[in-house]
């Protein structure tokens, strides 16, 4: 029952965070700090494993080779911020605490927020099975969030930052506008309210899912075969979603881990092979700018949509 990552988080908490919090008079944050250190240790582990697996794959069979791959390093910064740095803290502080408070409020009114385990009591103690069910539901929810991000002009303006990358690699999974990330937090917060997502209970399995999401962005000629691609999203399948022709409203392959929702909704395209990626309709800073240049360009594009069209109108077809 060894838990090396949990113990590593404990070490970070005791050796680095608690002395700092005590000196700064911020001991009230000690519980939050431990939550963050858990997220951060698992995030760091995700980054290391992804790097160790995806980098050799990208070197082995790259889809594209670039003389200057400077734009890739900005994506690496996104990954570190998203998985190890500030975002896990925001996730824990905002999402988790808000979930507890909101669920409590509803419980007060006599409505106990449902959880899968309450609906199906046999799941209590069945960690792997429970997680798989949660993962399927969350993946379905993510399909719809992602599809909607391509339908609304203002949302696409934010999400286009993710699509602007012409040098797509396994680092690109986390290159998102911060407002797009915030919408995703709210989205999953609502889902959590409906089915009671337990974020801290399955960190190892979440690590596996995040790895698969990173892998799907990798610059590698890798397909899982006819059947495999219909069970799990491959780099080949997801690359079609990032294709130049697919940017915007008429994209395809919106799924993150499972291709099932695309197949059910008729948005799956298994025919496109290793297409070039990017979004020609966005300004250059979205693709090759620094972290802050990309964020500002995304914000400018977002604000422009309110001046030029009715909010809520569809994203442009390429």
């Amino acid at each position: 029952m060894d838990d090396p990552l949990g113990l590593a988080a404990g070490w970070v908490q005791e050796t680095l965070l608690i002395p700092l919090l005590y000196q700064l008079g911020l001991m009230r944050w000690e519980d939050v700090a431990f939550g963050w250190s858990l997220f951060a240790v698992y995030g760091a582990c995700q980054v290391v494993i992804t790097f160790a697996v995806c980098l050799p794959l990208e070197r082995w069979r790259p889809v594209e080779r670039w003389a200057d791959s400077g734009a890739v390093w900005v994506d690496a910064i996104y990954t570190v911020i998203s998985r190890v740095g500030a975002l896990p803290l925001v996730t824990f502080v905002l999402f988790y605490r808000a979930q507890v408070a909101l669920n409590g409020m509803l419980a007060d009114e006599g409505w106990v927020p449902p959880t899968l385990e309450r609906l199906f009591p046999f799941l209590l103690g069945q960690q792997t099975l429970t997680f798989i069910l949660y993962a399927i539901i969350l993946d379905c929810a993510d399909y719809w969030r992602h599809w909607l991000a391509h339908q609304f002009r203002w949302w696409w303006a934010l999400h286009s930052l993710h699509h602007a990358q012409r040098q797509m690699t396994f680092w690109s999974d986390d290159r998102n506008h911060i407002l797009d990330d915030l919408i995703a937090f709210v989205w999953f917060g609502l889902i959590a309210l409906l089915i009671g997502v337990p974020p801290l209970q399955f960190p190892l399995l979440i690590l596996v899912l995040r790895f698969l999401e990173s892998l799907s962005h990798a610059n590698v000629r890798l397909s899982f075969g006819w059947l495999g691609e219909r069970l799990l999203i491959s780099p080949r399948f997801h690359r079609a979603h990032h294709g130049i022709r697919a940017a915007g409203q008429r994209s395809c392959n919106y799924g993150a881990v499972l291709p099932w929702w695309d197949m059910l909704m008729g948005t799956a395209d298994f025919t496109r092979d290793y297409v070039p990626t990017g979004d020609p309709s966005g300004e250059e800073a979205l693709a090759t700018g620094s972290y802050w240049q990309q964020q500002s360009a995304g914000l400018r594009r977002f604000l422009r949509t309110f001046k030029t069209s009715t909010p809520g109108s569809a994203a442009p077809s390429p």
């Binding site: 404990g10 005791e14 001991m27 009230r28 431990f34 507890v100 959880t115």
Partner: protein, 315 residues
């Protein structure tokens, strides 16, 4: 005849052996489970899964149920204190810390995330009154006559006193930075101020701080030994457990217990079982020698309850 005699003796002895072990229940807050530990072998035997995030537990006044609060699950679990079998589940909003009054009439539940203190009728579990507070109510103590309950408000550096007869707030006073554990001792309230290195001595009538007793960095929680002679204080940031004379409040000895020492329960052999939040362990401290053994449990072990009379737990 001789074989029959041996068999007869075995029948007499076996049940006693089976009941000799005792069971410890350790709550794993970040693991959504309760570890059941064999007190004799000091080994975890099994885990009871709960919904989301349990923190504290308390024995009902009749000794028939062990109440476990699952904060994020908004659920109170009632366990058999001997076997750990779940007796019932009850929806309760954000049950973080729980405590029955000395007369067993009321149950106070501190909702840390929801900033509320709920007072229930212990027999019917009917909510008598809710006190919205600012903010993060965390630990609970009662006056010995059960007339008042005191709750630390961790994020606002205050302690609140509530009159349980009139069901109204007596006072709400600053008591030091990030107050956590609170205990009634010799007519005074003691509050462990986690943002400091001391325990504040508070006058129960007014809520005013009368004295500060230095214990160590991040004084977090405090417990009175079963013989009422020793006060034990866990210092979260310093990683120490300190004993003080319960009458004079003079320090006796400091023990290094790394890994975020939190709650304590006392075993009949005089040893202290201490949860170590970040080490995923329970320390079994022998105060005489200063050495401790460790028991591996789940993630972020927090509240604990020892039942030495329970039968040896089975997987």
């Amino acid at each position: 005849m001789r074989r029959a005699l041996i068999l007869f003796l075995m029948v007499l002895v076996l049940p006693a052996t089976a009941h000799a072990g005792g069971a410890a229940f350790i709550i794993n807050s970040a693991g959504a489970s309760i570890s059941v530990v064999d007190m004799a072998t000091q080994q975890e035997v099994r885990r009871i899964p709960v919904l989301r995030e349990p923190h504290h537990l308390v024995l009902s006044p009749d000794g028939k149920s062990l109440l476990v609060g699952d904060t994020a699950g908004n659920e109170m679990l009632f366990l058999d204190p001997a076997t750990g079998a779940i007796q019932k589940r009850m929806p309760v909003a954000d049950p973080y810390q729980l405590g029955f009054s000395p007369n067993g009439k009321v149950l106070t539940v501190a909702g840390l995330a929801r900033n509320q203190i709920d007072v229930y009728d212990a027999a019917s579990m009917k909510l008598l009154k809710r006190f919205p507070v600012v903010s993060t109510p965390s630990h609970i103590a009662y006056s010995p006559d059960s007339g008042a309950v005191y709750v630390t408000l961790q994020d606002s550096d205050r302690l609140i006193g509530i009159d349980l007869h009139k069901m109204e707030v007596l006072w709400n006073q600053p008591v030091g930075k990030t107050p956590a554990g609170v205990l009634w001792l010799n007519g005074k309230l003691l509050v462990a101020d986690m943002g400091t290195d001391y325990v504040a001595q508070v006058e129960p009538a007014t809520g005013k701080v009368m004295a500060k007793i230095q214990t160590g960095k991040g004084a977090h929680n405090l417990f009175l030994s079963p013989d009422h002679k020793i006060l034990w204080v866990n210092n979260r940031a310093g990683g120490t457990t300190v004993s003080l004379d319960a009458t004079t409040l003079k320090p006796i000895r400091s023990y290094a217990i790394p890994g975020g020492p939190d709650d304590i329960d006392f075993a009949p052999d005089g040893k202290l079982w201490i949860t170590r939040r970040w080490a995923e362990k329970v320390a079994v401290l022998d105060p005489a020698t200063g050495t401790y053994q460790t028991i591996a449990v789940g993630r972020s072990p927090h509240g604990l309850f020892l039942n030495p009379k329970a039968p040896t737990p089975v997987p």
